[in-house]
């Protein structure tokens, strides 16, 4: 039955996530200013939350009383901006997840203890992985692969041990070049880490990259995770990217409501559009954008819960959630700063930070344009006719 009620467990999970975000708020500015220079200066568990129930643990424990684990996770993610991650749980090691899912027992024994990032993007290959230059050449003499190339925009590479890296293999008999996935660890000769990227926002999300010059890895480093398998992870992640950004937009909207209320404007949803002023109308339209996006995230996550995360059956809905979420957080944060006026851009408040932070959501994990191509192809029955 169609139902939008939240279980008690879900309300509790949202409250736990919200509390954690509120505690982190007082470190948000400092972290925003410094984290790129002092990566991960919050390591382990911050003392402020050491004695408190962790949102992750609460989710694991309470998942049976929710609408579904992936649904509850998204609900928690959307509650408010997570400016600072007060617990370094290692759960952001996306490459380690890949190894767990696709590695052989031998590979897990060899690399399982490492924290691995995932490396896909290159300076000239972002949304178009076919353009990738990084490559692996097999050397039968030593049973090794020889790696060359460059990877950028790698999340948390600076603090991890290496990366599960997507690259081009050698052309087969038909001249087709397959993608291969290789575990690259930092200590290998020829791996050169590049400095952290300085960026517009999301500065607590550390981002770096590496060069590969004639790096030799044993054949066992190659995972049986083809590009399609790598991409299947996107179905799970894309709505979450939207959810994280919606959390920033949620905090922005709540802040804007609060500040306008101090000036005497309380939004009235009952009356019609002829009876409201410009700011009130704009806020209502932005709330509508937010709730519209919320619905598409929930839809994608509900389908994922029904079909299983690995399914491709909800890929269009995952793209819908990502495309709409990415779009509305831009509109909402831009619009709120316009309403808030000069005071809103001051670093005394976090509004300007949220404006910067959410902007990446329409770019990473498949830019809005890529999502639209995927959606349009599905609607039009196209493959490469549309690119």
């Amino acid at each position: 039955m169609v139902d939008f009620s939240l279980t008690e467990a879900e309300q509790h999970l949202k409250a736990v996530a919200h509390r954690e975000n509120e505690i982190g708020r007082k470190y948000a500015r400092e972290y925003d200013r410094n984290s790129e220079n002092e990566p991960s200066y919050i390591r382990g568990i911050h003392p402020d939350v050491a004695a408190l129930e962790s949102p992750h643990a609460a989710l694991r424990r309470g998942q049976n009383q929710t609408s579904g684990l992936v649904i509850a996770e998204a609900l928690m993610d959307m509650v408010s901006a997570r400016d600072v991650n007060l617990r370094d749980t290692g759960e952001d090691a996306f490459g380690s997840w890949m190894l767990k899912d696709y590695g052989t027992e031998e590979q897990k024994a060899r690399y399982g203890h490492l924290k691995l990032a995932i490396a896909i993007t290159e300076p000239s290959a972002g949304s178009d992985p076919a353009n990738m230059r990084t490559n692996a050449r097999y050397d039968p003499a030593t049973d090794e692969y020889v790696l060359n190339g460059e990877k950028v925009f790698i999340s948390f590479f600076n603090k991890f041990d290496g990366a599960v890296t997507l690259m081009k293999g050698e052309p087969d008999a038909k001249g087709k070049t397959p993608f291969v996935t290789v575990v690259v660890t930092k200590e290998l000769p020829g791996v050169a880490e590049i400095p952290q990227f300085q960026k517009l926002g999301l500065r607590g999300h550390e981002l770096s990259g590496f060069h590969l010059q004639d790096v030799r890895v044993p054949a066992i480093a190659r995972l049986d995770a083809d590009f399609g398998k790598t991409m299947s992870k996107f179905n799970h992640n894309r709505p979450l990217v939207a959810a994280h950004a919606l959390a920033g937009a949620r905090s922005m909207l709540d802040f804007t409501h609060a500040k306008l209320a101090e000036g005497g404007l309380k939004v009235d949803y009952a009356k019609g559009r002829s009876a409201r002023g410009a700011n009130e109308d704009k806020l209502i339209r932005m709330e509508a954008l937010w709730e519209a996006a919320w619905g598409t995230v929930m839809r994608a996550k509900w389908l994922e819960h029904q079909m299983g995360s690995e399914s491709h059956g909800y890929r269009v809905e995952a793209s819908v959630a990502k495309a709409l979420g990415g779009k509305v957080v831009r509109q909402i944060t831009q619009g709120c700063l316009e309403i808030l006026g000069p005071q809103g851009v001051s670093e005394e408040y976090l509004a300007e930070k949220w404006f910067r932070d959410v902007r990446i959501a329409d770019i990473y994990e498949g830019a809005g344009e890529i999502q639209r191509i995927l959606i349009a192809r599905a609607l039009l029955g196209y493959k490469n006719e549309l690119n």
Binding site: V2, S67, G295, I375, L380, L386
Partner: protein, 363 residues
Amino acid sequence: MISFELSEERQIVRSTIAEFGRSVLRPQARRLDTDSRIDDGVLTQLWSTGVIQAQAGAADDEVGARSPVTNAIVLEELGAADATVAVAMASTMGFVQAIADQGSAEQRSKLLAGFTGDRFQGAAVAMMEPRFGFDVSEFATVAAKAGDGYVVRGVKAMTPLASRCSHFLVIAQSDGAADAFIVSRDAAGVTVAEPKGALGLRALEMAEVTFDNVAVPSAMRLGEGNGADIQRIIDSARVGIAAILTGLSRGVMEYVIPYTKERVVHGVPLAQKQIIAFNIADMHIDVEAMRWLNWRAAWELEVRQPATKTAQLAYTYASQQAMRIADDGLQAFGGHGFVKAHPLELWYRNARTLSVLEGVAGV
């Protein structure tokens, strides 16, 4: 528990109404617009779906039989075929539901029976008023206490199928608050004007209804002594309109897709141009988003949670995006979108018309 699961019953309702829309309503939509009238045959067929009778027949304890979520699904399907006919049903539904929801026992037993028969019976919530800047937060129509009853005075605008209504639920200012009064079409002082024609939804024959000192007994004040929850009527109407706009938008998208795949421009199908393909993707994104937001508002109405905020947001979002979708759809057809050989120009007019109305629907 978050769920988008449609019960088997709802799936059947959806596919039945969808088929009815495709085979019966869509082929006649242009003719209805041209005639500026919904003929009795179409209304009879609409009535034979049994949707309105189901609302009227539901007893107090059978909330399930009167389901806003199901009704939102029905209105989307009707809206995808012809928004005009969808409003014809939704408008009567709005009246019937207000009585079923908020009427006293006597009002329900006296009035609802009139909507359980075999023939179409129109009725409407008379909410909007003929002045620029009208808003549902302020009514110029007044109901003044007079002896045992009330005297209703004012003019209502854009009332759907006004000449075919047996009753109006007149929303009027009374004793400092908005209230609702059940007025028979035949009551002394009620005048239904000739329709002036309108940009869209032309076949609805939306007309002004004048209430010139109409005497209304206390027994016909909705809810009698308790008065009525006008906001719930407004909320329900907003969700109903949003559902029809969702359907209208989907109809546009489904019509645009085959055309743009067939139409070759500069050597390639139009749909292979990113600007067109992206517009189509955005139509789909918005139709999905509209529907889920709207289901949520309908669900809140169904479980009797406060629904005012979500209903407003669903209405706001659907109004804004449906207009854009109809606009982009017309543009994709170029000159063919502007001429009457295709329905784009009709949907363009209907989208703007429907999205500025209030109170003309119910779920």
